[in-house]
């Protein structure tokens, strides 16, 4: 079902954990849908020095969180914001169709953490929107054609 990369990131998640006194924390998703992601950021000079995550969710949710943190580590905030859910999925050698929403969740969690960082530091980042309440709203998965 999952690619080897997904399984690797699921079983050996990178950057799993918390950051005490993080510069930014974002939590997205909800328990109703079965996945919640939280991302912690340590930012210095606009660069993501450290990043950690915690995830309640399926294998893909864990793996996308792990991959997303890998992709943004050491990047500037602007670079981090350019990383799309598609990039996360691609870096994992793809996701099953039903699991694409997990990669979206990872993107949203990252944005939420950056938003928090920006809020706390009075920075305005163009194009960055406040985290949505429930990122699943827009999706409907039935393949009626």
């Amino acid at each position: 079902m999952y690619s080897e990369k997904v399984m690797d990131h699921f079983t050996n998640p990178r950057n799993m954990g918390e950051i005490e006194n993080a510069d930014g924390v974002g939590t997205v998703g909800n328990a109703k849908c079965g996945d919640i992601m939280r991302i912690y950021l340590k930012v210095e000079n606009n660069v993501i020095q450290d990043v950690r995550f915690k995830t309640f969710g399926c294998g893909a949710a864990v793996a996308t969180s792990s991959m997303a943190t890998e992709l943004v580590k050491g990047k500037t905030i602007q670079q981090a914001l350019e990383i799309t859910n598609a990039a996360v999925a691609e870096a994992l050698d793809g996701l099953p169709k039903a699991k694409v929403h997990c990669s979206l969740l990872a993107e949203e969690a990252l944005h939420a953490a950056i938003w928090d960082y920006a809020q706390k530091n009075g920075i305005v980042i163009e194009g960055l929107e406040p985290p949505k309440e429930d990122i699943h709203e827009e999706e409907e998965d039935e393949d009626e054609d």
Partner: protein, 393 residues
Amino acid sequence: MKETIYLDHAATTPVKQEVLEAMLPFFTESFGNPSSIYSFAQDSKQALEEARETIAKGIGALDREIYFTGSGTEADNWAIKGVAESYRSKGNHIITSKVEHHAVLHACEYLEKNGFEVTYLDVDADGIVDLEQLKSSIKDTTILITIMFANNEIGTVQPIREIGRIAKERGVLFHTDAVQAIGHVPVDVNDLGVDLLSISGHKFYGPKGVGVLYARKTVKLKAFIHGGGQERGRRGGTENVPGIVGMAKAMELALADMEEESARQRELRDYVKERILEKVPYARLNGHPEKRLPNNVNISFRFIEGESLLIMLDMKGICASSGSACTSGSLDPSHVLLAIGLPHEIAHGSLRISLGESSTREDMDTLVEALVPIVEKLRAMSPLYEDFVKNNG
């Protein structure tokens, strides 16, 4: 490769060697169409009728009340849509429960779109339907009560005899989906007052793709799949002779040692349940503690999600199931777990193990040993657990 510990017998079972052997001649040798008149086809015809007899006897029915189908799902659909059609002039109200299998629920929802009214009975925290609500839901237009025998997720066994009595008193037909019950608990249609009953072969070591609808001879049963004159003109299609023979053999074998084997599995069930609840904090048993299938354990682990749990168990060679939506690609967790009142995040973290004839005490120990660190690992990753610890620590 490590050995597989298969603990998902509620999903499906292997075909037993004896069952396969009973089937084999009907694929390549005695392959005649039972409807043909030449003597070569008599073997198939006879095997078909013997299978019908075996199954009839197994549930206390008459031979002519047994109709072979292509699955348990077809039997459920036929029973519900068939009664709806035949008795429409009498009424358009059907009563079911919130914890039925999708085969029943979706058939009912289909009928709702076609002018029927359906009442979905609540269940209590153990998953038992509310009999008072049942009684008060019956009205003049009620034509069918369809309540499952035993739940496929949480194992709760419904008070079928009581429901049968209520149905009879009120002159309403009673269908029960007994797919999970057959081979585990005694089923006698007359004793229980059941008018229609669904069976699926692959849940008791028979083959997939074959099932039974029992319909009491007094039930006006219209065809659902129209075609040739098979099954007394009520279910068209060349009979799946090997499948039917296999299912009958499997039922015969299952009933032969049911008492003993169920007792054995019940003991294992209680053993593993105790061990898990003892070793893993923040865990709860779902389903009724006693009125449950002898082979079903369903436990929710707070703060973690079921699919991750299953994948990690799978990596240890353990096959199990979950009520988490993530296993099905949908977003809502099991309607059954929600119906017994679990909040979403707890429903997502459920594990179902269903034992079988191959299950041993060592398997239980292996499971528990594997489970404890997995739950710990997943909790360490969980933002929900983090919040819980912070708020309660």
